[in-house]
Symmetry: C2
Subunit: 580 residues, 2 copies
Amino acid sequence: MKATQFFISTLKDAPADAEVVSHKLMMRAGFIKRLGAGIYNYMPMGLRVIRKVENIIREEMNRAGAVELLMPVVQPAELWQETGRFEKMGPELLRVKDRHGRDFIIQPTSEEVVTDIARQELRSYRQLPKNFYHIQTKFRDERRPRFGVMRGREFTMKDAYSFDRDAESAGRSYDAMFQAYCRIFDRMGLQYRAVAADTGAIGGDRSHEFQVIADTGEDAIIYCPTSDYAANIELAEALAPQGARPSATQSMAKVPTPGKSTCEDVAALLGLPLTQTVKSLVLAADETDDSGAVIKSQIWLLLVRGDHDLNEVKAGKIEGLKNGWRFATAGEIVEHFGCKPGYLGPIGLKGVKIVADRTVAQMADFVCGANEADFHLSGVNWGCDLPEPDLVADIRNVVAGDLSPDGKGVLAIQRGIEVGHVFYLGTKYSKAMNATFLDENGKPALMEMGCFGIGVTRTVAAAIEQGHDARGIIWPDAIAPFTVVLCPIGMDRSAEVKTAAETLYAELQALGVDVLLDDRGERPGAMFADWELIGVPHRVVLSDRGLKEGQVEYQGRRDEAATKLALADVVAHLKARLKA
Amino acid sequence: MKATQFFISTLKDAPADAEVVSHKLMMRAGFIKRLGAGIYNYMPMGLRVIRKVENIIREEMNRAGAVELLMPVVQPAELWQETGRFEKMGPELLRVKDRHGRDFIIQPTSEEVVTDIARQELRSYRQLPKNFYHIQTKFRDERRPRFGVMRGREFTMKDAYSFDRDAESAGRSYDAMFQAYCRIFDRMGLQYRAVAADTGAIGGDRSHEFQVIADTGEDAIIYCPTSDYAANIELAEALAPQGARPSATQSMAKVPTPGKSTCEDVAALLGLPLTQTVKSLVLAADETDDSGAVIKSQIWLLLVRGDHDLNEVKAGKIEGLKNGWRFATAGEIVEHFGCKPGYLGPIGLKGVKIVADRTVAQMADFVCGANEADFHLSGVNWGCDLPEPDLVADIRNVVAGDLSPDGKGVLAIQRGIEVGHVFYLGTKYSKAMNATFLDENGKPALMEMGCFGIGVTRTVAAAIEQGHDARGIIWPDAIAPFTVVLCPIGMDRSAEVKTAAETLYAELQALGVDVLLDDRGERPGAMFADWELIGVPHRVVLSDRGLKEGQVEYQGRRDEAATKLALADVVAHLKARLKA
């Protein structure tokens, strides 16, 4: 490609609303152009990256035996009503009526449509397993779209759906996709981690997020540097502290803590470590009648150590909270604790179920609220000042330094951006939509399903979050908009520069290298700044002065400085660099 | 590709709602699957054809210097309000409100968005000309979607938009796209014709439809077999008959024609040729005040020969009808003609403007209505029984046998399916949206635009309308889902067949041939029927019996019978066939 036949549009400054670095750089480098909140034009330079990402995904999906089709953007509501999602999903599902007043949705995902295809097309066990995927435009009407294409409303996703005869076969489909995802992100040249994730109501252990490592990532990735354990924070298990609970050494005492309603403040006031305090969280679980009216609400007190955070997903797995919970209202708290929030504790309660985190259950001589405004209790001990808790459970987020659940080390935390997800669905959708096949005995059986997504446009943004510096983007070769840029200086004045540049350009093109010749006639400074911002990984500068000595300058995007190369050697040099 | 790794789903019968052959065959061959009215899943086999069509388009657009980007499916209403199309367009424009109640549309076309990009990005004459295109999902909420993807609601289109500094440069952009379109449809192996089309309010002669020739086409293509004249029926000019008007030979007479209200019936009753009769069409043009209320309606009588049809587009170009017209109501007709429709004529009218088609103006001794129920007038002559008409104009559709407007022969008509359109827009959108650039003198000037569309999914259907027989589809090589299919008979029983098939498959793949190996183990009859239905252009059958003599059978999809070939020659034979 020659620059004058392409479209290059860079900006000195990012727009004020761009908060994250990928958004800023995609806007500045002319990859995207805002059309509305969370809706972007993919400009020519950005589209090249998207296409390269799509092609790698497509090749690896095909290699893994998945079959590409294309399901529509506008989908009839009927199928979404079969699974109940038309009603259940919130306003992020964009609903639209056609000219005849019929309901449609703009697809955010395609489980319903693909299951409808499967129940019609896959009639026999002989046709299974089958994996259908598409790469399609999706829309999710985010309440607050932001971060550019990282959390946009219209975006491109690859979503695959596997259909199997039984759970064992579904497991093999899952594994095949897991391996395909590894190859995809390997080929893209991204640093990533596959982390175990929560499976919610589906159960089992077959859910992994593919997280691109980036300091700016929204998600916490929990991993063990000395083993292959990795999970997201929702799932990562916090083990009980090793050893038995220490013996009590103090007597319980009521201490005035006026205005100190947080564990931090109380610890500071009493001169104790925060790890000596216990945080009280009050939840409620509503029991409803058939009409949905609340009959009764059970109040729960969940206790975590002062320096720990409640893990709401884990809380939701407690028997009694499984079918839904909410934080208690101020009124309910006063009714059951006789006290406003900030001074709550587990002592002297009636009808409140008490759950202690594993760590809390191992504490002695701890501090908690006295259920009286401006007072706490110190030196509190289980079995002594209060009965053992109703339940001991893992209800907190892990922290760095916790023991790894696999017993092979200590946990560390890094930040990541979720770009892919592999998930075993079981019969959730096949059951709702009666997607059956005939087994060897001619009996109908529900198909076992898996779903496997990759955010195409999100991957582009994540790659930038991972690869950038003060000058701009640093693309891995495989997904750069161009692999090599040739920057001739004074091409319009010097026939020698022009000839050398055109010749090199033709040679690289003939080798199949995705090369751009910058024939715009920009001054060197502006030209170099553009390509550093755009992030092309390999740059060759041709100048009159250099060519007089038969030399050009090569600089990799991560290199500190340029290297002089003989013009005759530059193709071989690039070939070697591109292979590496 | 091996069949067992792909997805093949053929049907014996087409669904009842499939009216046209392309719809029937696409359903039967498993190319598409209906999801809702005018909304289809593109199944794996169909998607392969779509991708091949897209790739040819993309390569030729790039070659012609156009630059690919991607504009969103969901577009904010604001831009559509700038051009007034948000209000003006009918219910075929699918409107949707987001969660905040803001108006959006699902794009049927992207003039507004691309003009918005251009007015922000193209600031100087130095950046012009520029041509942006995308290949994107579109939605048009047709009142009565039908004919499968031929007239679907969701479909894929390539649309390109050119931006030029002046009309002359815009003409060059137009020519470049015209040439690119010829290359595109040539490469696809389709028989097509570029026909001149009406430019409506834009004016000028820069509008061409690309029509794929097919007997089943909706459109009439007018062309001259002895010259390069071609136009659509809206535009094709009907010249005046050669020579002077014949002299009158009859006197006008009132003849009873009870119940005979059509020219055909009257001609039959009177024993005259239909070409001796004149048809009366009554139009009205409303004059409105600023509020849009009708102040006055001018009644027009348009006369065409009994065997001719009114051309409504041509009627709309008459001074006085340019700003809009409608057919007169029954009430207006009775008021101005004193008679019900069926017996109307040009004699004895007051305040009615009379337009005679060029052919009618040359007629003598003609028959027309008497403006009295159940009576016509015969032997009517201009200048004798009634004054010369207020206006003589070309207001009819041409018919086969008419003189070609270029004077080089006689017109013929064939049927076509419009798959592409190149159109010079002028400053219609740049003016509405104030899309200006700075010219050499630093003065802002409006950009001259062109728009260039190809219906991707429609082209697929049109190719089938052009290429099919009783057994199924006949694809041109370039856009076939697979170019070659290998059909081994008894591959599971015979090691020799299996080895030969696998070897040939690998050889063809290594040559870059898009080959499918049918390893499903179907019986020969079912296997052949599938591939004839699907329309793969080249088939090689491998059997135990043939291989014993070192032979395989080759059959082109259009061939009457198979040809025996030495196994050793089959690659060379296919290479020769594929090049041709």
